[in-house]
């Protein structure tokens, strides 16, 4: 049987506001437990929520970035359930009237085509605190620093048909929210996380199969693995004659398996109703337009521009625009060095390779765009060869400094003096009569040997183009 996979994602993005969605407490990550929880966050008797306008504007900004309908009147609802890290006994969220309605984003498939993924809605809500199960001698500790941090939950249509598409969608949403500056995108700190609804159906079948919801996946790698594992599990269940049950499953990244958390029957009745402590939010067309006009260049537009303006291939442009920082880095390096091809190659291979190897992200790169541009400029003007450039890059990475001073202090400047090079070529020819004989007899591969000898003698500083030319000339004499 041929199976088709159907995936929808619910992405939670923490909004990068300074204070919480309904209180003035700071949202900074990593403080001592409960030091960023005031009376409102603790849900003390008598306290009331006041909406943070900045969180609202960020949600609207997201809506305009995906060309979504913006809810002119949106309403906060209470989702009632008991949990120690939920101080009020309800989460304030949006059910019937979310701030962002139907929108869409485009993802690029492996074959180079584009697919549009529908976004059903995105709504504002508050995050819960954290339960801490260690260090409490059989009890549970509760840290309410995160309680009340603003989130938008971005709900996709069940439009994705493979794990690759799901990852591409998640990456696209990630680049949009970070481009427009509403989320720091930090997945390790939980600023960007997702739940995946996964089902399978026989290819060609109209109706969806029964879905399972995978909870709280917090990396691109895990989303791929978790969905793959779940697809395999569901197919195994069906092929063994069983039925997939609708349930919530937790992905365990250590064991690389999903396991049941609760079934549909155990699903809670959240008794949603409009929060009487908060008035409906009314936004005008003018307010929406002001926010729309404040949008920066978005990933798709930037990619198109890079292709056109810098003459890049679609793949390279896609890699370079995946994150705003990388795109900015590349653009600076290009402008300062005057060579987009060189900049693109260096950013994609040398820089990204080194960052990945050392598990750093672009923001913490030891070599900044101006430093790299300085290096590229020296390659471009033949001061150094590409090979020497890697050595300079290495030095720059470890000890800092600009390309010119490293080249100067290490004496790495390329030898371009024709007279000096000619002497070297003559010496190599004189020193290796056998090889010269063989070369002249037709073993042209030996050209590399002669170049290598000269490079060795000059510690790589000879200009390879000039040497080639000189050798060819001398050897054919």
């Amino acid at each position: 049987m041929q199976w088709e996979v159907v995936i929808g994602l619910e992405i939670h993005a923490q909004l990068a506001t300074k204070s919480k969605i309904f209180s003035g407490s700071s949202t900074a990550f990593g403080s001592e437990p409960n030091t960023q929880a005031n009376a409102v966050d603790l849900g003390l008797p008598g306290v009331l929520p006041v909406m943070n306008k900045e969180a609202l504007n960020m949600a609207i900004k997201f809506g305009t970035a995906i060309n979504a309908e913006i809810g002119k009147t949106s309403v906060f609802d209470r989702k009632n359930y008991f949990y120690p890290d939920l101080p009020k006994g309800y989460q304030t969220t949006q059910l019937a009237l979310p701030i962002v309605g139907l929108g869409s984003v485009d993802i690029e498939l492996e074959d180079g085509t584009t697919k549009t993924i529908g976004v059903t809605r995105a709504h504002l809500e508050e995050d819960a605190g954290k339960s801490l199960h260690e260090d409490f001698h059989g009890s549970t500790g509760v840290d309410l620093n995160r309680a009340g941090t603003p989130l938008i939950e971005i709900v996709s249509e069940p439009d994705m048909r493979s794990t690759k598409e799901a990852v591409a969608y998640m990456r696209k949403i990630h680049s949009i929210v970070t481009y427009i500056g509403i989320c720091d995108g930090n997945m390790q700190e939980g600023s960007f996380r997702c739940d995946a609804n996964v089902s399978v159906r026989p290819k060609g079948q109209e109706e969806f199969g029964t879905r399972a919801e995978l909870k709280n996946i917090n990396s691109f790698r895990f989303v791929e693995r978790a969905i793959d594992i779940e697809i395999e599990r569901q197919i195994d269940v069906i092929e063994a004659g069983g039925e997939v049950v609708q349930e919530t499953r937790l992905y365990d990244s250590n064991k690389n398996e999903t396991r049941s958390m609760r079934s549909k029957e155990d699903a809670m009745d959240y008794r949603y109703f409009p929060d009487p402590d908060l008035l409906p939010i009314v936004v005008t067309d003018d307010e929406i337009e002001v926010i729309r006009n404040s949008l920066p260049e978005l990933p798709d537009a930037k990619k198109a521009r890079f292709i056109k303006e810098f003459n890049l291939g679609a793949d390279d442009a896609g890699i370079l625009t995946a994150s705003l920082e990388l795109a900015d880095y590349f653009e600076t390096a290009t402008k300062e060095s005057g060579d987009s091809k060189l900049a693109s190659n260096w950013v994609i291979s040398e820089l990204t390779g080194r960052l990945n190897k050392e598990n750093l992200d672009i923001k913490s790169s030891p070599v900044n765009a101006n430093q790299l541009a300085g290096l590229l400029a020296r390659i471009k003007d033949n001061t150094i060869s590409g090979k020497i450039a890697k050595e300079v890059f290495d030095a720059m990475w470890t000890d800092g400094g600009d390309a010119d001073s490293i080249i100067e202090s290490k004496g790495l400047k390329q030898i371009t003096d024709t007279g000096a090079l000619e002497e070297m070529v003559d010496k190599v020819i004189a020193d290796n009569p056998d090889q010269v004989e063989q070369f002249k007899a037709g073993k042209e591969k030996l050209m590399g040997f002669f170049v290598g000898q000269i490079m060795k003698a000059t510690q790589g500083k000879a200009n390879p183009g000039q040497i080639n030319q000189l050798l060819k000339k001398k050897l054919s004499e």
């Binding site: 009376a39 603790l42 849900g43 003390l44 008797p45 008598g46 306290v47 009331l48 929520p49 006041v50 909406m51 209470r78 009632n80 008991f82 120690p84 101080p87 009020k88 006994g89 309800y90 549970t140 509760v142 009745d269 008794r271 949603y272 109703f273 009487p276 402590d277 908060l278 008035l279």
Partner: protein
């Protein structure tokens, strides 16, 4: 001293006839002498009160006094008070000391007022007789076998017995106007959004409103001057200008158009109460008012709609009392579920549990549309009834309650009958309108209240209408013999 109104006390303080410390001590003494039996206070904050009084005297001496400076008040124990226990009448909060002041409390503090203590109330403001309080029933100063009404029963009884010159209350379905009527006081429930709810422990958020118990409409105006206004901490407080509510008190009532809703004079109204209301109407006619019969056709739906909306909101509002962060926690919980079940099971009383159950049911999936949503629609119909009526009349008058005070224990086994004792007050909350109850006579030595309802934010008009009656009558000056 204790038979003086706020206005008179303020004059006495200003002229140096007595000091705030003397005045405060006088009330503390009266509380000590009388409240053991009456049970109108849960907490008496005498030390803090005397310290505040001392400060007030200094303010008065330095000429910095505001109208309420040095006047002692009793505060309903639903308002959070920094450092003084706030119980909301519940075992759940028997150990709760708020780390902050409610906006209302802050306003009184800023005005230089003195807080005598925190008054008894039905548990979480759920009740009409003050019998659901964890701290015991409050007695009606007009007859100890009678209830003082509720939920602000302690606030009403304390002023009726002159154990405070005035007090605050909250009104969700009649919790100020009903006890004011039963205790012979002026009880003002302002428009929804007029007074901040911040720091006022929520029962039903869309209905709750803070107000006052006073001897006179003039005193209510003085208190509202301090309490009213926009609060950035309460998103539902409204940015309407705050007038000086004392300014219009003396306006002439000739030509005032008063509506009498026929549905409020129908079956269920005690005939003797009806007579007192008739007397009041006669009096108002002498003052120049004109009366017309009006109809509020959806009145019969108000009690059922209220008993969906209020419990629904309370079921969610009271979820935070879970034994985790503050308040009552059961002994030795076995696990999380046990902690929740026993902390809430042991910490809440029966009426609170009944309303949480009703509310959770009304909000549950499959019933939401039939109950909660429908009740909200009815609410709009009821509000529209009033809007229509106010196109024809300036104010509406009715009895505040269908009967005078009932006896302690009389309605304990019949919650529905208890719920119907608020039949004339509930619609006002559903519509969010201001209303006041003023004394208008007695039936068998028990007080009767006249309810006056005005359009939104027309509290000045409401108090003007009430004040004019009080210049022509002396019902409001009657004090129970024992407490004279």
């Amino acid at each position: 001293m204790h038979n003086k109104t706020i206005a008179q006390l303020a004059a006495g303080l200003k002229s140096g006839e007595f000091s705030s410390v003397e005045l405060t001590q006088h009330y503390i003494n009266r509380i000590k002498n009388y409240d053991g039996e009456l049970n109108s206070y849960i907490t008496v904050s005498d030390e803090q009160a005397l310290a505040q009084a001392k400060q007030a005297d200094e303010m008065i001496a330095s000429g910095k006094a505001q109208p309420l400076t040095g006047i002692p008040f009793a505060q309903k124990d639903i308002f959070c008070t920094n450092g003084v226990k706030t119980t909301c009448g519940s075992k759940m909060l028997d150990n709760f000391i708020a780390p902050y002041d409610a906006t209302v409390i802050e306003s009184f503090n800023n005005a230089g007022a003195v807080m005598l203590g925190k008054t008894n109330m039905d548990e979480f403001a759920m009740g009409s007789s003050n019998e659901t309080s964890y701290y015991g029933t409050v007695k009606n100063p007009w007859g100890h076998e009678y209830v003082p009404g509720g939920s602000s029963g302690g606030s009403a009884a304390s002023v009726a017995a002159r154990l405070a010159p005035a007090s605050t209350g909250t009104d969700t379905g009649g919790s100020i106007r009903q006890p004011a009527a039963l205790c012979n006081l002026t009880g003002l429930k302002p428009s929804y959004g007029r007074v901040s709810r911040y720091g006022m422990i929520a029962f039903a958020s869309s209905l709750d409103q803070a107000g006052t118990f006073t001897q006179t409409a003039e005193d209510a105006a003085l208190m509202l001057n301090v309490m009213a206004g926009l609060d950035q901490r309460d998103s539902t407080s409204i940015d309407e200008p705050v007038p000086d509510y004392t300014e219009d008190l003396n306006q002439d009532l000739s030509g005032l158009k008063v509506g009498l809703p026929k549905e409020y004079f129908a079956d269920g109204l005690d005939s003797d109460v009806a007579k007192r209301i008739d007397d009041a109407i006669t009096e108002y006619k002498k003052l120049g008012a004109e009366f017309v019969e009006i109809s509020l056709p959806n009145t019969h739906l108000s009690v059922p709609a209220y008993y969906i909306v209020a419990p629904a909101e309370c079921s969610s509002n009271l979820s935070r009392f879970d034994g985790v962060r503050f308040g009552y926690r059961c002994e030795n919980p076995e696990d999380l579920e046990d902690l929740y079940k026993r902390s809430r099971g042991e910490g809440f009383g029966d009426e609170v549990k009944r309303r949480i159950m009703v509310g959770a049911y009304a909000l549950s999936s499959g019933y939401y549309d039939a109950y909660y949503l429908k009740a909200q629609k009815i609410r709009r119909l009821i509000a529209n009834d009033f809007t229509e009526a106010f196109k024809k009349v300036d104010v509406i008058m009715s009895p505040t309650t269908p009967t005078p005070a009932f006896k302690v224990g009389e309605k304990n086994d019949d919650p529905i009958s208890m719920y119907y004792s608020d039949i004339y007050t509930i619609a006002v909350n559903l519509a969010g309108l201001p209303g006041v109850s003023i004394p208008c006579g007695f039936v068998n030595n028990l007080p009767v209240g006249l309810q006056i309802i005005s359009p939104y934010f027309a509290e000045a008009k409401l108090l003007n209408v009430a004040h004019q009656y009080q210049t022509a009558t002396d019902w409001h000056q009657q004090i129970p013999e024992k407490y004279k």
